[in-house]
Symmetry: C2
Subunit: 428 residues, 2 copies
């Protein structure tokens, strides 16, 4: 096959708004993964894709080629129905930590293979690694066994899953070709399909703190991913959820684990519970599990028991004290009134600057750093009352973090009606 | 300046149809030339430029940055007015070989710094290198002295002229970003402006044998280049000339030198003479030389004398016999009638396959190989009469060359009215 194609011809086809053949797509992805197509050629192709788009059949083949660049996990040995969730990333979005054991407690198996966080939204692995002893790397056999016995695995995606995506993602990052809906959809779905789940719920975040600021583009991304799931035999639906304010009160690795445990013990912030339960309902429906009430599983302790089993199975100590920040500094309200707006992006950037996130793949993250929102939109505050609490390992990072929060909230005298969290269901 | 910019931001600006600032353009060209911007980043930017275009001010700065990436030749010491010609390349286009000494014989200085040919159109340096002893590489001092004494130099452009163009051209070649009018214009004009000529005539070829098949795109390229010349203080005009049939009868390195000498001695094919004289008139006008008749200079031997001086000054022997092909094979007319069409591209590809051109920069070319057109459009032929003569160094290349000429001519019973050669004047 390889001799029948030429990278320049493939680029030219997309450049000239023509349709790429299935063979051309499979060839270019395979040759790029193996090094036969150069970075500069793929960069030109990616820019042409970003500007000229891809049809649904082209994108389906593109995604298939990315999956075929590596292994597809075989979960057929798992006795429970498999269902996963993917979030496009939001500030304070600790839902995965709660949802995986919750849905496991309802009888499904949740194979959540994840990456690291980059930028202002944290990664699920980074959060769990603040638990002493917990390890992210499991063998395929360990994954299957844990899914069978515990019903939930959150672990690192192995190098063998969609290696084309790893190479393409690094290239997109330096060539301003990240913001392409077909390329985003192929990146997410190739990894999720390769991980072997039978069904999938997508949480597509929309708002100032999300990658997708715009509801129409978010809906388009959601529809594109739902279509790709169907093309590859994975029952997929998507929810658009709001990401204007942070989700919950904590943004930061250890801080979010602590908040997740509160929810798993039947408490925690109402917004986190609402989104988690809504996603759990969708996952159970796709998994064909009826008669389960996820909210009750949070209250009756069975979700928390599944969480403890999940953490323990991966070497973590669920009873170990969480790391505590050496420096904690409040930021106070400048006037009295009701909080009408809290900028999730500002909170995410502050947490990142405090040490909770990384700027480059190689960076390490702090387990203790982050932001706690002591008040949320709709809450009344007095002038001088602490609204945020900055947590850090050293005082030197406080100034830049605090600067990120300048203008991050509005306080009003009038009434405040927070908008809905769940905006739209797409698919299935 | 370098710390103020980020390649991803520059790419994103052009990707999103925004205007690149002058500083951003100068930074990205400089950083790319020096290796601080990676090939894959420049490839993405070039594809964004190809698809989203550049405004006239952006392109002017882009071209300036390419010029500033290297040296600009100082021809202020030359006592004659300097004027150059550039052709976008055609099959059998040997006009430079005749025009440089012809315009020199009329009192101007022609500093023709050239590159090698690539693909189906031959390069002027390749043609002259079929003359025993002739050398393409001169120092800047030799160029200035020869311009002063002889009035014409055709030589290789040094490494120091617009090095950004050399790097960009190689990249465009492998990323399907050659066919962008702003990038073509910047590539040509950066080199011509850097060579130091005071004025410039552009011969933009249009037709099946030219890089520009389409008259509107050719006119747009011509206007773009004329504008860039003006922006950089080089008086520039362009002529669109037809390239549907080969120019003259010979396509091939040594064969074209021989035909050029015929024209310089007052004979040769009428079409070559017509285009050469028309271009000479424009060059003399731009150089401010009045009262000269180029056609008379071809007839009276003074152009030929200048040619001999130009060749001799660069070590060539104008009296040496030209290399002769070891294999010569005719292709005959399949029917009697009048030739109504002769496909320049087919003739160019045949000459290339015979050994006259190169597929890659590193390839060498044959001095003797090529195609001679024994008849041209408008000529009557008898069935079985030779129309083409294939010249090659070895018989093994004949079949593929001959295949390129299948269907290359039409023969009709009716009258044939060949179209005009000079299509349009643009600028000045």
């Amino acid at each position: 096959m390889s001799s029948a194609f030429d990278a320049v011809e493939v680029i030219r086809t997309k450049r000239d708004h023509e349709v790429l053949s299935d063979d051309a797509i499979r060839w270019v992805i395979d040759a790029y993964t193996k090094g036969g197509v150069a970075d500069e050629q793929m960069a030109a192709l990616l820019m042409a894709v970003l500007l000229n788009g891809m049809s649904a059949p082209e994108l389906s083949t593109w995604t298939a080629a990315m999956i075929e660049s590596g292994d597809r996990l075989d979960l057929s040995g798992v006795s429970r129905p498999t269902v996963d969730k993917h979030s496009t990333g939001g500030v304070g979005d600790k839902v995965s930590l709660i949802l995986a054991p919750l849905v496991a407690a309802c009888g499904a198996a949740v194979p959540q293979l994840s990456g690291r966080g980059l930028g202002h939204t944290g990664g699920t692995l980074d959060k769990l690694e603040s638990i002493p002893g917990w390890r992210a790397h499991l063998s395929n056999e360990e994954i299957v066994r844990q899914l069978d016995e515990v019903g939930a695995v959150i672990c690192a995606a192995g190098e063998g899953l969609a290696p084309a995506d790893r190479k393409l993602y690094s290239l997109r990052d330096v060539t301003a070709t990240v913001e392409s809906i077909p390329l985003i959809a192929a990146s997410i779905m190739s990894k999720k399909i390769a991980e072997g789940t039978a069904s999938l719920v997508l949480d597509v975040k929309v708002g100032v703190g999300a990658f997708m600021k715009d509801r129409e583009r978010a809906a388009l991304l959601a529809r594109t991913m739902v279509g790709l799931g169907g093309d590859h035999g994975v029952a997929t639906m998507a929810m658009l959820t709001a990401m204007d304010a942070p989700l919950g009160r904590a943004a930061g690795n250890g801080l979010e684990v602590t908040e997740s445990v509160e929810v798993l013990q039947g408490g925690g912030p109402a917004d986190v519970v609402e989104v988690t339960v809504a996603l759990a309902h969708e996952m159970l429906a796709l998994a064909g599990i009826t008669g389960e009430d996820p909210a009750a599983r949070l209250r009756d302790g069975s979700a928390y028991a599944a969480y403890r089993a999940m953490i323990t199975a991966q070497g973590g100590d669920p009873d170990a004290p969480m790391p505590v920040a050496r420096v904690i500094e409040p930021i106070v309200a400048k006037r009295s009134g009701r909080i009408s707006r809290m900028d999730a992006l500002a909170v995410g950037v502050a947490a990142w600057r405090l040490g909770a996130g990384r700027a480059r793949k190689e960076d390490s993250v702090s387990a203790a750093a982050g932001v706690v929102c002591l008040a949320k939109p709709g809450d009344e505050v007095e002038e001088g009352q602490p609204v945020f609490e900055l947590h850090a390992d050293r005082a030197s990072v406080l100034d830049r973090a605090s600067a990120a929060l300048d203008g991050a909230i509005d306080i009003t005298d009038g009434p405040v009606a927070p908008g809905p969290l769940v905006l739209e269901r797409i698919g299935s």
